[in-house]
């Protein structure tokens, strides 16, 4: 670990103009501290935000919910309001990591966790995300866990969060605060970016910008489901995950929202699939047709080719379950 300075903030206002380029915010530290030990992250200063008053879940007005950035994954997943009205979010959170990690990890930190690409973690191998311009080890290497949508020749890493997938499907919005005190809001869908030729940038956050919370709007009608497909039944990142909210009226899709995890550099909102389904009969054929519409541009890199049919089949299975067909799914 590279030596660094440490400063604990007592209030959001403390941020002021004091944030500089080499700073990183420290909350749960479940990912950042690990990456610092590997010297993949080498901040000059840690600004510990864990004492800030951002740990509340509050009524957000209009039937929504306001989630502080420091709310732990466990607290959010077990909140009675979330479990009742946003079960998709609760399910996604509980599908991630382990109880120990969820007790520590925060809402803001979960959004900002970094990829699990093998080559990102191996400092002896090239990685454009770690060292821009160095090359990509995964492109012609092991890429079983890598992206099939929105990739570039610079980077085919995925975003590992489950929670963010649910938030994207739920049209959640992040509240941001800049060092100068100005605030802005951004849909979670727009928070993360595709790698393009700057894979080192995971998000569109400006330097020093702090996530202070997440706004959940009132949930749309319909059944909410999260399905995570992975190699083992716990403590594994998604090969493919699907978050969906489907409302079927008189056998037809009245409204639908779909997001994929494990397929791209960001949680992937499947708007093409949503459009294809709107007003259509809720049938297996239409579910598969919608998946095909979304995956038309998908590209495999050898090891991850299977993710294309897997994403297609998983989406159809989730929509089938959401539409009410009976069936036991893999626990």
């Amino acid at each position: 670990m590279k030596p660094f300075d440490y400063q604990r903030l007592a209030a959001v206002e403390d941020l002021g103009q004091r944030v500089s380029e080499g700073d990183r915010f420290l909350a749960g530290g479940t990912n950042l501290v690990d990456l610092m030990k590997h010297e993949i992250e080498t901040p000059e200063r840690l600004l510990d935000i864990s004492r800030l008053e951002l740990g509340q879940i509050e009524d957000g007005g209009d039937g929504g919910l306001k989630v502080g950035a420091l709310v732990t994954n466990t607290a959010l997943a077990s909140d009675a309001r979330v479990r009742e009205r946003w079960p998709l979010l609760s399910a996604a959170l509980l599908a991630g990591a382990t109880a120990q990690l969820r007790n520590r990890a925060t809402t803001g930190g979960n959004l900002l966790q970094r990829t699990r690409c093998y080559y990102f973690y191996d400092t002896a191998r090239p990685c454009n995300k770690r060292n821009p311009g160095e090359g990509c080890g995964a492109l012609d290497g092991f890429n079983r866990i890598h992206a099939i949508l929105g990739t570039s020749e610079q980077c085919i890493a995925t975003h590992p969060s489950d929670m963010a997938v649910a938030m994207v499907a739920l049209d959640a919005v992040v509240n941001l605060r800049a060092p100068d005190g100005s605030e802005r809001q951004l849909p979670v869908e727009e928070l993360h970016r595709l790698p393009g030729d700057e894979p080192q940038r995971d998000t569109v956050l400006e330097p020093g910008e702090l996530i202070t919370g997440v706004q959940l709007p009132a949930p749309p009608p319909g059944r909410q489901l999260y399905r995570k497909v992975r190699d083992r039944s716990s403590y594994a990142f998604a090969l493919v995950s699907v978050g969906a909210i489907l409302d079927v009226v008189d056998g037809k899709v009245d409204s639908v929202r779909i997001a994929f995890g494990g397929v791209a550099h960001k949680p992937w909102r499947a708007r093409k699939a949503e459009q294809a389904l709107q007003g259509q009969k809720a049938t297996e054929e239409n579910f598969l047709m919608a998946a095909d519409a979304e995956l038309a541009d998908a590209k495999g890199y050898g090891g991850n080719d299977f993710k294309i049919p897997l994403a297609r089949r998983t989406l159809a299975a989730v929509l089938r379950d959401a539409a009410g067909a009976e069936g036991e799914t893999t626990a």
Binding site: Y118, D122, D140, G141, R144, D231, R232, F237, F306, P309
Partner: protein, 737 residues
């Protein structure tokens, strides 16, 4: 009343309270008078070649750094692999001995600092440049070197009868090739050592399965007198073969301690362990089976192709299952290896049978279907009456009974024999079976016991307890034979100053060290009876019915406390040595433990996700020494088998000779949620030839066959035979439309 510590009783681990309270000090936790310095390994980033330049200047100036050891300044060592007439656990394991890079991850420097954080940071400042050499980092069926011998001293090639003719004349034939990946032992405790050197004696606190060879390898590597080397390894957090021989960080810690004459601790980081401790090589196994129309095997052929690490003579006997499980008129077993520039390849739990059974018991299952026979029935009609490879009689043979009993308990007859015929919602359901067999070995072992005049007994051996329960079963053996409560028995292990033992490995630990202890205890009984005979007050006692109970020698209605007998001997204590070594029984008989394992799996029709729903094993391993620790051993092997079938794979990036998934987030082991209800049954039948206790090896038994039972259940569920382990969902998906 039966002694609750008697042999076979499910006595709780005697070291359990120490372990759960943190009082059992593992290698890295050993407390010295002063905190040791801490070393961090700098790994080579090429698979083969030479170090061109090393710049340690920045690292040396970094905060807290005391020394940076490289091949330029480390103490003089015997070159790696010498002398070549020594075994692989005792020949030199020189580190930083020359500019040569042996494999990716090979240590090129050790940074020694006051704290872990300072050492680790400074390690990143060491600049190394290389002259890479041509490296062999691909493995596969092009292996064509014949190893001198396989692990366990087995011949690389065995032929019985005319295989080609028997195979070609068989009515039913099968010719399939299976592959298994590189795998890690993945012990919970990483490889760790603290070394202390005063200019004369070297003390090494480490985590190693075999203490005796550890002393020798240090003496041979570091040019020391073995009498000046003390190795201590009282508690070990799992080894599974990766800690049989002394590992890289131990040599490095010793080099640091000798260079500085200060204690140095080196703990391998989890990412280090994958390259700086041995792993299991990948295998290509071609299996040919020939049978008559009624399902009798005519020909068994097994050809194994595996890598062998350059300069390190370990070759895995992958054909072990094919050689020992079923009868056929003709047998062909052949092993070829390919020398590669990769980190050490060595034993991993049940070398040979574990991955051999994955392939072979899957192929046997294929053959059963091809013969249109029930997989249990097919196995039963092919039971051997002598060991197929050697032609020797079995000391005992209980595989058929394990299969029958297991099938009945599992409800095998509820199964629709047709593949892909059972569904539960969107889940395909399948049942699978596999035979389990693992050789029983006895290794020379000695011990010393002392009975004190307070009636307490202490036993010493340089044996190790790698988490298996050795402390506990040895306590029971002494308590049972001498009629003592468990609390009166102390077992002292893990110190090279104690009498030489077998160590832990090859499932021989309990039977061998236990038999030596039994020998000592039986001799002590004779000694105690002799003392009693000399007592005037006992001259009319019933010596014919002498027994030992409740801390007493019982002679009919007379009870004499053992403590009193010690006092009457005129000494403060009685000391007796015990030993065991293999004899005629091991030359005349082929000895094995047996089992049959059954699995029920579901496969998700949409996603291909496989989940094991229940598993059952029936095992026959002679006399069971402790039903609780034995069950744990078998349970652990079954869990590992599930893990081999479904998850474990070291991904070798052939471009650089490195494993890319070097952590437990991406090297997938089965986790709790992957493990269903597991039922374990013993068929307790003491083997009269195995050893004086009648026990047989158990540690490597259940991993041999467990994975194949799961794989065969997947076939039954889906009708898809995946011959490339592990069976991950991507290999099933396209077949599940």
């Amino acid at each position: 009343m039966k002694n609750p510590a008697a042999i076979g009783q499910p006595l709780d681990r005697v070291d359990g309270p120490l372990k759960v309270s943190g009082a059992a000090t593992y290698a890295a936790e050993h407390q010295l008078d002063h905190a040791p310095l801490v070393g961090w390994i700098v790994e080579a980033t090429i698979p083969a070649g030479r170090i061109k330049a090393l710049d340690t200047g920045a690292a040396e100036k970094s905060a807290g750094v005391v020394a940076v050891l490289t091949h330029n300044n480390s103490p003089s060592q015997v070159p790696f692999g010498e002398p070549d007439d020594e075994g692989r656990f005792t020949q030199s394991r020189a580190m930083l001995g020359s500019d040569r890079v042996r494999y990716h991850g090979f240590p090129v420097a050790l940074v020694i600092a006051d704290t872990l954080a300072n050492a680790r940071h400074a390690a990143g400042l060491v600049e190394v440049s290389y002259d890479p050499a041509e490296a062999v980092t691909t493995t596969g069926s092009d292996a064509d070197e014949v190893p001198d011998e396989l692990d366990g001293g087995l011949d690389p090639d065995v032929t019985r009868g005319d295989f080609e003719q028997a195979y070609s004349e068989s009515e039913v034939q099968l010719d399939v090739t299976y592959t298994t990946p590189n795998q890690a032992s993945a012990a919970m405790e990483p490889h760790a050592t603290i070394a202390e050197y005063d200019g004369n004696e070297l003390w090494v606190y480490t985590s190693v399965q075999l203490i005796g060879p550890a002393v020798e390898v240090l003496a041979n590597t570091l040019k020391l007198d073995p009498d000046k080397v003390r190795v201590l390894s009282p508690y070990i957090g799992g080894g599974f073969g990766s800690k049989l021989g002394l590992h890289n960080e131990a040599i490095l810690a010793c080099l640091g301690a000798m260079h500085l004459e200060r204690p140095v601790k080196v703990v391998q980081h989890r990412r280090h362990v994958f390259h700086n401790a041995p792993h299991r090589g990948n295998s290509v196994q071609r299996i040919r089976l020939g049978a008559s129309g009624d399902g009798k095997l005519k020909a068994i052929g097994h050809e194994s192709y595996m890598p062998r690490a350059r300069g390190y003579a370990f070759a895995e006997p992958t054909g072990a299952s094919a050689r020992t499980t079923y009868h056929a008129d003709a047998l062909l077993s052949r092993h070829r290896v390919k020398t590669v520039d990769m980190s050490l390849i060595d034993s991993c739990r049940a070398p040979g049978h574990s991955i051999g059974s994955l392939a072979f018991e899957s192929a046997i299952d294929e053959m059963a279907y091809r013969c249109d026979m029930d997989p249990v029935a097919f196995r039963l009609v092919n039971m051997p009456d002598r060991e197929p490879a050697s032609g020797q009689p079995f000391s005992s043979h209980d595989l058929a009974e394990c299969l029958r009993e297991g099938a009945a308990k599992f409800g095998w007859d509820q199964r629709d024999p047709t593949p892909r015929s059972q569904e539960r919602g969107r889940q395909l359901v399948g049942y699978g079976v596999a035979s389990t067999i693992r050789m029983n070995i006895l290794v020379k072992s000695t011990t010393r016991i002392r009975l004190s005049d307070d009636g307490s007994l202490i036993a010493w051996a340089n044996m190790t307890d790698i988490g298996t329960g050795t402390y506990t079963i040895l306590t029971q053996i002494a308590a049972d034979i001498l009629g003592l409560p468990a609390g009166k028995v102390s077992i002292e292990l893990g110190d090279s100053a104690y009498p030489a033992s077998c160590g832990s490995g090859g499932s021989f630990g309990a039977g061998s060290s236990g038999s030596a202890l039994r020998d000592a205890c039986m001799k002590l009984r004779e000694k105690l009876v002799d003392i009693a005979r000399k007592q005037e007050s006992l001259k009319d006692a019933d010596f014919d019915g002498a027994s030992f109970e409740g801390g007493n020698l019982v002679l009919g209605d007379k009870k004499v406390p053992l403590a009193e007998l010690v006092r009457q001997s005129g000494h403060d204590y009685l000391e007796v040595d015990g030993k065991v070594e293999p004899g005629e029984d091991h030359e005349k008989y082929s000895q094995h433990s047996y089992g049959a394992q059954f699995a029920e799996v579901t496969v998700d029709r949409d996603t291909g996700e496989v989940r094991v729903r229940r598993m059952l094993g029936v095992f026959s391993a002679g006399r069971i020494l402790n039903r609780k620790t034995a069950r744990s051993q078998l349970l652990g092997g079954m869990v590992w088998g599930i893990s081999y079938a479904l998850l474990e794979e070291l991904m070798l990036d052939e471009r650089c000779g490195a494993f890319v998934n070097r952590d437990f987030a991406e090297y997938h082991l089965a986790v709790n949620r992957d493990i269903p209800e597991v039922e374990i049954h013993f068929r307790e039948q003491p083997d009269t030839h195995s050893n004086p206790l009648g026990s047989k090896g158990i540690g490597e038994l259940s991993i041999s066959g467990a994975g194949a039972a799961v794989a065969n259940a997947i076939y039954h569920a889906t009708g898809v035979r995946v011959r490339d382990f592990p069976i991950t969902l991507d290999k099933l998906l396209e077949h599940l439309s």
